[in-house]
Symmetry: D3
């Protein structure tokens, strides 16, 4: 039932994403004692021009 959304800058490989969902699912299952099959993960990628910290976008650095 945990539903996880991970927003990150685009550019990771398919292998990194596979590894990401495996490891995060395991981490949640262990820490809050939830069966793995109840854990959903959504990856959302952002372009560098769509993410800013301190008013400056990654694409403008």
């Amino acid at each position: 039932m945990p539903i996880v959304t991970i927003k990150m800058i685009e550019g990771r490989t398919d292998d990194q994403k596979r590894d990401l969902v495996e490891k995060v699912t395991a981490a949640i299952s262990e820490s809050v004692d939830a069966p793995k099959e109840n854990i959903s993960i959504i990856i959302e990628e952002m372009q560098k021009s769509h993410f800013a910290i301190g008013g400056v976008r990654k694409s403008d650095l």
Copy 2:
């Protein structure tokens, strides 16, 4: 004022999406007594490689 976000795997047709927002808007309007014009719906599509249940992505099944 209800603001609805529907996340689903990509691949539905344009007709299915049109039907989706019509039916969901009607369902909300009836059940919580909100005027239809106050209901906003956002559809967000995910690639199969960006959604996992139980640590396994749809693209890896």
Copy 3:
């Protein structure tokens, strides 16, 4: 797999919320041909002081 989030002003009764998730689940299942058991719905309630249109909060109307 459709994951639905419904944000609305607080104050609906428990019966309205039960009705809401039943009707919205049925509406999605019919329109995009998804089995009901794959559809998750999250209700998120907002205080009137936490929602604004046109720069004016519901609590200030």
Copy 4:
């Protein structure tokens, strides 16, 4: 620490987006007294066929 998500219909220019994150960051920093470097902004664009008000999508108007 304020984390801001701005969802809007696609089509704004890169200059408009740069201006958007600058102005919104300044507006938040002034109003809630947060240092600018603590403010993150995510822009999420929607196609017209993925946004509906009153059960009608922007692409169907």
Copy 5:
């Protein structure tokens, strides 16, 4: 049509929140040329025990 979500640690006053939605609405309206009445803002407050950077929650600092 811009729909904005602002997540921040709880504790701001009602006046700060009123000011926040006014200023952010104006900032968006100016920068992307959207009528103010089309801009919705949702404020979501987090407890310090529900927000972490670098694996450490605000409540544990």
Copy 6:
């Protein structure tokens, strides 16, 4: 820069939540090679009456 949101049913202890953000931060850092200090995690708890699968809320089971 990864920004993670974890939605789950309320009821976990403070220790479980501390453990959760530590382990998830480590899992992300390892799998996508991001420095821990760039990873933000937000926990959002839901009441059982605000979460449904298959049209039935957890509170109605």
